[in-house]
């Protein structure tokens, strides 16, 4: 479905290749299957955001390539959509208009896109908030808007860059559970960036552990915990604890 091959990315000072550079990613390769939920886990600065932006087609890699269904990614496309860490809502648009944004860009007529937007707002539990501006709702609700907006484009691959990094701990667990519930309905392939070990285990089928300076893949850990994970307390499962210990060890050295 998605294949990342020997990807390298260097940031030069002032974007000028005569000046000193920083290797953000070096020879990163992995692949993701259809409908898989994969977490990219690593300390901050290890290139997670850079990697997901390259997959989204927002920036170009310097070496290597990305294939989606065997086609090279060179620019943003309909098959992928991104949920941003700082929500990325447009502050001058209401909640509804923010969710409409993606379809509006595609040229979907107003009536139709509003209907779709309402449908996705309902999915994330925000009906009744259509007319609010982003600054009038809480961080957790803002990110639900961000998720509804991304889902409204029915992307094959949902890219999420630390989507719950900017909300408080309790809201975060609630959003994680809701995300899994939504995912069982929409069945997208998800690439989810996080630096929380627990979050990565709770959500994903696979955790790809990354390491900094230069950014590279350290280990690929399968999470074979049963789904659905919101029933019962998965976090108290001994297998969960074992995975947590293992991943923490892996991150440490």
């Amino acid at each position: 479905m998605l294949e990342v091959r020997e990807l390298s990315k260097v940031f030069f000072e002032d974007n000028d290749p005569r000046k000193p550079g920083l290797v953000a990613l070096h020879n990163v390769s992995f692949s993701v299957r259809q409908n898989e939920f994969v977490c990219l886990l690593g300390p901050s600065g290890c290139g997670k955001t850079t990697l997901i932006r390259i997959i989204a087609g927002l920036i170009r890699a310097d070496r290597g390539e990305i294939l989606v269904e065997n086609k090279r990614v060179v620019a943003p496309g309909r098959d992928r959509c991104m949920v941003f860490q700082q929500f990325g809502l447009l502050p001058w648009r209401t909640v509804l208009a923010n969710v409409e944004f993606g379809l509006e860009i595609e040229g979907v007529p107003r009536e139709e896109r509003q209907a779709v937007a309402r449908q996705y707002l309902e999915l994330v539990g925000l009906n009744g908030f259509e007319k609010y501006y982003p600054h009038q709702i809480s961080g957790g609700m803002q990110q639900r808007v961000g998720i509804a907006r991304a889902l409204s484009k029915k992307p094959d691959i949902l890219l999420m860059d630390e989507p719950f990094g900017a909300v408080d701990a309790q809201t975060r667990e609630q959003l994680q559970e809701e995300l899994l519930k939504i995912w069982t309905k929409t069945k997208n392939t998800v690439i989810f960036v996080t630096h929380s070990i627990d979050e990565s285990i709770y959500l994903s089928d696979r955790v790809i552990i990354m390491q900094a300076r230069p950014g590279r893949i350290k280990e690929d850990v399968k999470i074979e915990l049963p789904r659905p994970r919101w029933e019962g307390d998965v976090r108290a499962d001994p297998r969960f604890a074992a995975l947590r210990t293992h991943i923490r060890e892996s991150l440490r050295c």
Binding site: G88, P91, I105, H135
Partner: protein, 275 residues
């Protein structure tokens, strides 16, 4: 909020509300009104004693206002000024916004234009008035040019810095959703810099007003500025104050109008600043 019985009881026992002594700080509205009417009264009383060639007084000014407006001459000159003002200002807005957007978004435009923009912005525009009058004559074209030059830079500079401060994050959102350059411009850059543009417009409105008055005073042919010069050289101080007060009111009204538009069209600004 309703007080609980315990609270009511405590308050009754403390008996804080006996009689409060009169303190001026508790009557600031009164101070304000006394000050305003006192000043007008003093001006009226002492203004009558001063040589009327040097200073007028409120009732004389009011009489002059009625007379001037009735004669139609004042209205005609005011309309003349306003017409020129709005033409120049409209030009300043269009050019300022367009160039600001281009310079903010495209580096080539920025590098080509910014030496001129910074040089002209630093030059006191009033200093250009004699040259503009020389070039365009004493009529409307010169005045429009003055208004334009006075108003265009605040708008341009603010639009430019607005586009520059649009977080690259928001542009990236647009790109992630497949927006091309045109859509990014109209759906991200322009709305995001609107609060900045409006702040520039607010500045421009005042500067352009100063520009047109100065130009009219210097040319001394038509418009309110010319009336100022005519009345002052005729030593008609009472009449002189009529355009002055009109211009003050006009300045306030225009600024308020822009502030209203700012609130109306950029209601998200508050949070944007907090981020």
């Amino acid at each position: 909020m309703a007080l609980s019985t315990l609270e009511q009881q405590a308050l009754a026992e403390l008996d804080l509300v006996r009689q409060k002594p009169f303190r001026l700080v508790d009557h600031l509205g009164l101070v304000r009104w006394v000050s305003v009417f006192g000043a007008i009264l003093l001006w009226e009383v002492f203004g009558r004693d001063v040589n009327p060639l040097f200073l007028s007084y409120p009732s004389a000014i009011a009489r002059a206002a009625v007379q001037l407006v009735g004669a139609g001459q004042f209205t005609q000159q005011a309309l003349n000024s306003l017409q020129v003002y709005f033409i120049g200002l409209a030009g300043a807005l269009v050019v300022g916004i367009v160039l600001g957007l281009l310079m903010g978004r495209y580096r080539l435009a920025e590098y080509i234009l910014d030496p001129f923009v910074y040089a002209l912005d630093a030059t006191p525009r009033v200093a250009l008035i004699p040259i503009l009058l020389l070039w365009f004559g004493l009529g409307a074209p010169a005045k429009i040019a003055v208004v334009f030059l006075s108003g265009v830079f605040p708008v341009l500079m603010n639009t430019f810095s607005g586009v520059r401060t649009v977080s690259s994050g928001l542009v990236e959102v647009g790109r992630a959703y497949g927006a091309g350059e045109g859509k990014i411009f109209t759906k991200i850059i322009m709305p995001a810099s609107l609060p900045f543009i409006m702040a520039g417009v607010r500045l421009a409105v005042g500067r352009a007003l100063i520009g047109i008055i100065t130009a009219e005073m210097f040319a001394a042919v038509t418009g309110l500025g010319a009336l100022l010069v005519r009345y002052s050289s005729a030593l008609a101080t009472d009449k002189f104050f009529v355009p002055v007060i009109f211009l003050a009111l006009l300045g306030v009204i225009l600024t308020r109008a822009v502030e209203y538009l700012e609130k109306r069209f950029a209601p998200w600004k508050e949070t944007e600043r907090a981020l």
